[in-house]
């Protein structure tokens, strides 16, 4: 037993920095998806089960864009930057488009009727199944490797850990988007209306906030980040119609871990989950790596259901 742990810790201490770097990169992707859950939870008090398909649509849209832009050419430095920006934007807009459609079709009719919570969940699950199976039908049921606008070579090393181009890109894109979202919600008029609706929608509407518009914009914001995350994820893992399921489940875990409804919590939860999962490789057989995130989810829900930073917006009931 002691030997078991000491050998695993030896692996961990030896591989600590590479695992940390890789974990943080994954964590940024989780954080970007988790924002979508947390924003929607904030204004609607419900978990957007179909967010995984927002992620998937972003991945597919940018996949086709990359294929069309790059083809078999090798982009130069300027093109790399331009293509990356284009990929993030197209992935983000596709995600936003799917998210608003979702809100319009699967949620708004129920909201008009004040439907019970179970109805939202079921409607979202149905929408999710519809979207990813439609993607399967239209694009095929195989994993497509995405044409990459850059060559993934190590740029520099930290404590012996090689930091690859891919990680740096995720770090840059992720931080820009997360910080600007945070500022947007904290300072802009739109952000103020989102916070007002999250506080108390009835009062907000009395104060002149257009609730429908605010909710739609919340879906757009969350969808944009989710779609862009789908692009970043697809760069490394390729795109396939079921690609949303596992990352979305983990991002949801991240949102709960940080405290659902809490934007910064989602970021902290995402990064933490990415690192934990990455470190767990030293202890857990690779086939069960998905169990780790799930175990984290169950433990958090059982022992601290409000997450690390607390559930800022939510009622506890």
């Amino acid at each position: 037993m002691i030997h078991f742990f000491s050998s695993h810790f030896a692996t961990l201490s030896h591989e600590f920095w590479p695992l940390l770097v890789g974990g943080l990169a994954t964590g940024f992707i989780y954080a970007m998806v988790a924002i979508g859950y947390t924003l929607v939870y904030g204004v609607l008090r419900l978990i957007n089960f179909a967010h995984s398909e927002v992620f998937m649509s972003g991945g597919f849209a940018s996949f086709f864009l990359m294929k069309w832009l790059i083809g078999s050419s090798t982009p130069n430095a300027t093109e790399t930057v331009l293509y990356l920006i284009a990929g993030v934007l197209v992935g983000g807009f596709a995600g936003a488009a799917v998210a608003t459609t979702l809100e319009r079709v699967a949620y708004r009719p129920l909201r008009r009727r004040n439907a019970p919570k179970l109805a939202y969940l079921i409607s979202a699950i149905g929408a999710s199944y519809f979207i990813f199976n439609l993607a399967a039908k239209e694009f095929g049921r195989i994993n497509f490797a995405m044409a990459s606008p850059f060559i993934n070579h190590p740029l520099f090393t930290i404590f012996g850990a090689q930091v690859y181009m891919y990680y740096v890109i995720i770090l840059i894109v992720g931080s820009i988007m997360l910080v600007s979202l945070d500022r947007l919600v904290a300072t802009s008029k739109l952000g103020r209306s989102i916070r007002a609706v999250a506080q108390d929608a009835e009062t907000a509407s009395l104060m002149g906030v257009n609730i429908d518009r605010t909710i739609a914009l919340t879906f757009i914001l969350g969808g944009f980040l989710g779609g862009a995350a789908g692009y970043l994820y697809g760069l490394s893992f390729g795109v396939v119609y079921t690609m949303g399921f596992t990352p979305a489940l983990k991002a949801f875990t991240a949102a709960v871990l940080g405290g659902i409804g809490n934007l910064r919590g989602a970021v902290i939860g995402g990064l933490l989950l990415g690192v934990v999962e990455s470190m767990a490789v030293a202890f857990v057989n690779g086939a069960y790596i998905d169990v780790v995130a799930f175990a984290v989810l169950v433990l958090v829900l059982l022992f601290r259901p409000t997450g690390i930073l607390g559930e800022r917006l939510g009622r506890t009931a």
Binding site: Q199, A201, N262, D290, V298
Partner: protein
Amino acid sequence: MKNFFSSPLVKRVGAMVALWATVTVMTGPPGNPAQPALGFTSSFSERVSFFGLFPTPRGVLFAALGLILAGIVVLYRRILHTPVQRAKASIVPTYQSISAKRSVRGSWYAAALVVAIMLPHVVTDPFWQSAMVSQIAIYTLLAIGLNVVVGFAGLLDLGFVAFYAIGAYVTAWVTGALPIGAPFHHVIDPFWAIPIAIVFVMIAGVLLGVPTLRLRGDYLAIVTLGFGEIIFLFANNLYGITGGSTGTNQIPFLSFHMGPIKYLWGLDPAPYYYLTLGFVVLFLIIFSSLEHSRVGRAWVAIREDEVAAESLGIYPLKYKVMAFAIGAASAGFAGVITASQTLFVSPPTFSLTFSINILVLVIFGGMGSIVGVVVGGVVIQGFVVYMIQSPPAWYNPADLYMYLGALLVVMMIFRPAGLIPSRRRLREVLQVESGVARDQLTTHMGPHNRVEEDLA
């Protein structure tokens, strides 16, 4: 411009155009990975025969069909079903005593049972005979079980398939078909796998339920979903115990052997059908008497208002765990039948999509309505099997879940209580929607929190 887009007519036309495009793409030819837009464009432009008359693009055909349908609806509303008639229909009472209603209902049930018993003699096509067990009876049984959890207790369990998997794997285990070997090196008569599997599954239900059922509804859905995936992962990877991704194909047919009575279920699906039918009836009787018992009333109380129920002395966790375990029992039995009829178990059978399929049956039939769920199971699965056997040109069985997903959304928008609603459920939905019991509403009822710090 803004007024234009928010006018009801424009909105309605827009919705109809969107519906038309969606249906056209859904039923259109599959796309091509190399040309992503091809599937969409050819869905509209592909030429099909217009009712066997002349070839026309599919888009036009669907538009024509939609217009005809809309015309029928308008005619029905204008001519046959005027507001006066509608109002009259709602106030004219039906002079039928409760006992008379009951006896009418009883004879309906008896008739349905007779039809179900006669069915294998009427339907002799081997494909349908086999499908009646593996696709219809088993699925209906599972739906009846999930109905206890989702319908009676109001808990969304997305990992229901896990119990089904446990039932099947326990069968393989006690008959010595798994690499791990039979328990205590003693292979038993497969028939006894039924009670053993049911006991195991109920224990699993309690083990899963006790920690997770404290969570609120949406969290519970995700956690059960994860549980289903974990059972799948273990079944798929524990080669030494479950046989891994290939599973096992060493399971014997069911056999019953006690004293002088011997019976062997074989290749013929009919005996399996009768066994399953017997258990369906048994579970129906048990579940419907539970529904009207103290336990069933406790479930309703918890579902409608957990806090109020608790203050009346109902311990929610206890009844929720009961719902989990009792609902799981039918899944355990279904697992035994599946394993011993198909003679093999392997992980792909027990994926998440299966849980969703069962959920669709429950939702379509009507949450909490036992009759509804049975009808939903038979109708949907019968239709699915029919579409597998003789698919029309526009349907590819691989796209089944696309249609089921769309069905879920449509049901939730237009008929949330299901095809044959349970009266209590219908009342609840209407009540919540009309604003009674506001605490249950999901939207916008948050307490007044600190204004500035939130989200910032």
